[in-house]
């Protein structure tokens, strides 16, 4: 007996929204080719979803260990500030000592290392100091934007660097670059967790932390790993956000995206109580959320409504995932 995957409801909701658009939104599935690059609403969704998709990939692993990482939005702001400082090299910036020229590779690497350090910091607080994840990552969520302002000297740093900007704005093989970045990160994380035993260990840790230690799983290292992965993902998301606007805004980059990521994970069928996780489900969840946003925007509905509609769809999917709710829907059996 093979049970249905946990993301089946998110997929159903996504198909429903897409079907709705097929009939109600003219030109929704239209795709144009311009300069060897694809344009259209669907492509736009896959492009726009990238930052949240990256955050939620890492968040999936953290949530599977019974944790949560609230700092990812602030980490985006920090890595964005680092990248913008290295590119624009404004007067008096504390990173002036580092000169990477216009090597996109080194600048991106610096952004990813920023994310990695933040992830290690979170991981150490959770695994060594044994601070509850929600509190431990709240520290960086609050302090991170301050650090980002320190790096950018309280300014919104703007720059003009076409090579770096192409991270968000360029295209490869017809598809926007952010799409490929998500594909790459998803593939690496999938291979890391499912082709090795890390996935089983993460699920064991989330399912029963005491038992996980008793069977010899190195729970400390595992926690450090999942928070580091999330940090690197957030670092990359920060690169995309900075490249998109060709600048770094410490106050607004990635604001509230940690909440979108948590929503994407739970809509995708990974329980906040830890244990079983599904990266595929998370990606479906993230795409569902972005499809909703795009649908509402292209239909010219007031943007205020976006959040309410999103919340309603999330509620519907979560209710369908709840055995208790499904049980209530079932017709009552008459006692013999």
């Amino acid at each position: 007996m093979k049970s249905m995957p946990s993301w089946i409801y998110a997929l159903g909701a996504l198909i429903f929204v897409l079907l709705f658009n097929a009939f109600a939104t003219p030109g929704f599935f239209e795709i144009n080719v311009l300069d060897g690059r694809l344009f259209g609403s669907v492509i736009d969704i896959l492009n726009r979803v990238a930052p949240v998709a990256l955050l939620s990939l890492g968040m999936t692993l953290v949530i599977a260990t019974r944790g949560v990482d609230l700092s990812v939005g602030a980490v985006m702001a920090m890595s964005g500030a680092v990248a913008a400082s290295l590119i624009a090299r404004p007067e008096g910036n504390i990173l002036l000592g580092l000169n990477f020229g216009d090597s996109v590779f080194l600048i991106v690497l610096a952004g990813l290392v920023t994310g990695l350090l933040c992830g290690l910091f979170n991981g150490l607080l959770v695994s060594r100091a044994r601070i509850q994840p929600i509190v431990a990552t709240l520290l960086l969520m609050v302090a991170g934007r301050g650090v980002a302002q320190l790096i950018s000297d309280g300014q919104i740093i703007t720059f003009s660097a076409p090579a770096f900007a192409s991270i968000a704005r360029g295209a490869t093989l017809g598809m926007p670059n952010p799409f490929w970045i998500v594909v790459l990160f998803a593939a690496v994380i999938l291979v890391l967790t499912r082709w090795t035993a890390l996935g089983l260990f993460i699920e064991s840790l989330g399912s029963n932390p005491i038992a996980a230690r008793n069977v010899g799983i190195n729970t400390g290292a595992l926690l450090l790993f999942v928070y580091s992965v999330t940090g690197v993902c957030a670092g990359m998301a920060g690169m995309i956000a900075a490249a998109d606007i060709q600048g770094a805004d410490a106050n607004n980059a990635g604001l509230y995206l940690e909440l979108d990521a948590i929503l994407a994970v739970s809509v995708g069928g990974t329980l906040l109580s830890g244990g079983r996780f599904s990266l595929v489900g998370t990606l479906i969840g993230a795409i569902l959320m972005q499809t909703l946003t795009t649908t509402i925007l292209t239909r010219g509905v007031a943007p205020e409504l976006t959040l309410v509609v999103k919340a309603l769809v999330v509620l519907a999917v979560c209710l369908l995932q709840s055995p208790t709710f499904l049980h209530m829907l079932r017709p009552k059996k008459v006692a013999a």
């Binding site: 007996m1 093979k2 082709w195 090795t196 035993a197 890390l198 089983l200 260990f201 699920e203 064991s204 399912s207 029963n208 005491i210 038992a211 996980a212 230690r213 008793n214 069977v215 010899g216 799983i217 190195n218 244990g275 079983r276 059996k333 006692a335 013999a336």
Partner: protein
């Protein structure tokens, strides 16, 4: 007795689960002033019958009458209002609330200011008196022993006006004094007119306390018997469906191990505040039994040897080297621990039986060399058939298994990595008689292959049966060692009870 209406009367109770006919037309009667033992192997239908009775499951057919009135409880709370209270084997209390709060939880007496704490205190006091438990009602339940928690759970069940009290394996974590205390309580409740259904695996206790016995096997009622008219050997053969003599087949071979040097030695080993003065050595092909009352330090000894806790005094040598183990390094050096509390510290709920069984093998193999799903199936299936685990489909969630089968899956987890020393903490707790014998036979078979065990059990007869030597613990100290030749129940009990 039979001419009057019974207190509780079940007729033709039928229950099907997908693929399983769990209860096949069960009839059952419980009189007032009766303690009625409900016996059967794992999967016989005891738990299902109790869940039907308490409204956890709805019956597919049949009727339940209490004092002649037909009832159909839809959930445990409704069952309580009909006068049916239940105490489960796995204690269901809130560890971070006080004893008083747990007893009154969900039905707190109220006054104009909210909860009437004075009344809570009085009710708690009388409830605790009724079960003869003396603890401070303000203590957190998580801070008292499991045995005391069990009595608190019973006190909670009695706090409501119960006519029928169901005890599902209440004694599996109690020591002898506590069992005696519980039985005194049960006798008093019987005199007060209560009907008590008692589920247990301890046959001694059945004969000590019950008036009648009903035996279930494979979802059918085999029969109901007057306890004093049913010889023990017949009871066992009713339960397992084969002649009891076959159980005793294959008397244990000699435990003489010569020519082997001990690979594990502890000298004055211990941890302050935990267990102390441990002195013994283990050779390959030896079973060290740990005997002692609950709280005497048996589990603590296992945790020290496995490296969950760390010794603060004395020496612990493995392979003639001083050992500072963590569970991870213990496993890599061939030591395993099958924990006592399998629900809290053993199983991975939500994961499959297969994943639960291969996880230690995977840890040993290192994370970058994943055991393929096909290989996992092969390993799991091997131990499923070796341990006769039911049902054999290892893709299912381990939570779907009965307690005894979960225990077998956890044993399989360790056997799959072939440890040279396996610490078994209450491996037979809460499992049926047939499986107990299977596990003891398994220990003996592996011992003959040169594997070693530390065997911990509350049932002295089991410890005596399997052990090469018995280390007796008293008040968290190892007090004496009894050789196999001198080991009998009187000798061990004397050692446990002796005063310095």
């Amino acid at each position: 007795m039979s001419e009057s209406t019974p207190l509780l009367h079940l007729q033709g109770i039928d229950k099907r689960f997908p693929g399983v006919h769990a209860l096949k037309g069960i009839d059952f009667e419980l009189e007032t002033e009766e303690i009625h033992a409900l016996l059967g192997e794992n999967g016989a239908g005891k738990s299902t019958l109790i869940k039907v009775l308490t409204g956890v499951h709805a019956a597919d057919g049949g009727s339940i009458c209490i004092e002649g009135r037909q009832i159909a409880p839809r959930n445990p709370n409704e069952a309580v209002t009909f006068g049916i209270s239940t105490v489960y084997q796995e204690v269901n209390l809130a560890p971070n609330l006080s004893v008083a709060e747990n007893i009154c939880l969900g039905r707190e007496p109220r006054n104009v200011f909210g909860i009437d704490w004075r009344a809570v205190g009085e009710r708690t006091k009388s409830a605790l008196n009724r079960v003869g438990l003396r603890v401070d009602p303000q203590r957190l339940v998580g801070d008292i022993s499991i045995a005391e928690q069990q009595l608190v759970a019973i006190a909670r069940a009695l706090d409501v006006e119960a006519k029928v009290l169901i005890l599902d394996e209440p004694t599996s974590s109690l020591d002898q004094d506590e069992v005696a205390q519980l039985f005194a309580t049960l006798r008093r409740l019987r005199e007060e007119g209560m009907g008590i259904i008692f589920v247990t695996h301890f046959l001694d206790q059945v004969y000590e306390i019950s008036d009648r016995i009903t035996v279930l096997r494979n979802g059918e009622r085999i029969g109901t018997f007057q306890t004093d008219e049913l010889p023990r050997i017949e009871l066992v053969s009713h339960m397992i469906g084969r002649s009891a003599e076959s159980l005793e087949h294959g008397a244990m071979a000699s435990h003489e191990v010569s020519g082997h040097e001990p690979f594990l030695t502890v000298t004055n080993f211990g941890k302050r505040g935990s267990v102390q003065d441990l002195n013994f050595e283990i050779r390959s092909g030896e079973v060290i039994g740990l005997a002692g009352l609950l709280g005497s330090g048996r589990t603590e000894t296992a945790r020290l040897l496995f490296g969950i806790d760390h010794g603060t005094e004395g020496g612990y040598q493995l392979d003639n080297r001083s050992a500072h183990l963590t569970p991870r390094s213990a496993i890599s050096r061939g030591v395993g621990l099958n924990v006592e509390d399998r629900k809290a510290e053993g199983i991975f709920p939500g994961l499959s039986i297969r994943e639960n069984m291969v996880v230690v093998a995977q840890v040993k193999r290192r994370w970058w060399q994943r055991i393929s799903t096909a290989e996992q199936k092969q390993v799991a299936d091997e131990y499923v058939s070796a341990l006769q685990l039911q049902p054999p489909n290892t893709d299912r969630n381990i939570e779907n298994l009965s307690g005894g089968n979960q225990q077998k899956a956890l044993l399989g987890r360790w056997l799959a990595v072939e440890p040279r020393l396996l610490l078994l903490d209450e491996p037979t707790r809460g499992i049926d008689i047939g499986a107990k014998f299977e596990i003891m036979a398994l220990v003996e078979r592996l011992r003959l292959e040169g594997k070693s065990f530390v065997f911990i059990s509350s049932e002295l007869s089991e410890v005596i049966r399997v052990s090469s030597r018995i280390v007796v613990l008293r008040d968290r100290r190892a007090v004496t060692t009894i050789s196999r030749a001198e080991a009998n129940e009187e000798a061990v009990v004397a050692a446990i009870a002796k005063h310095e």
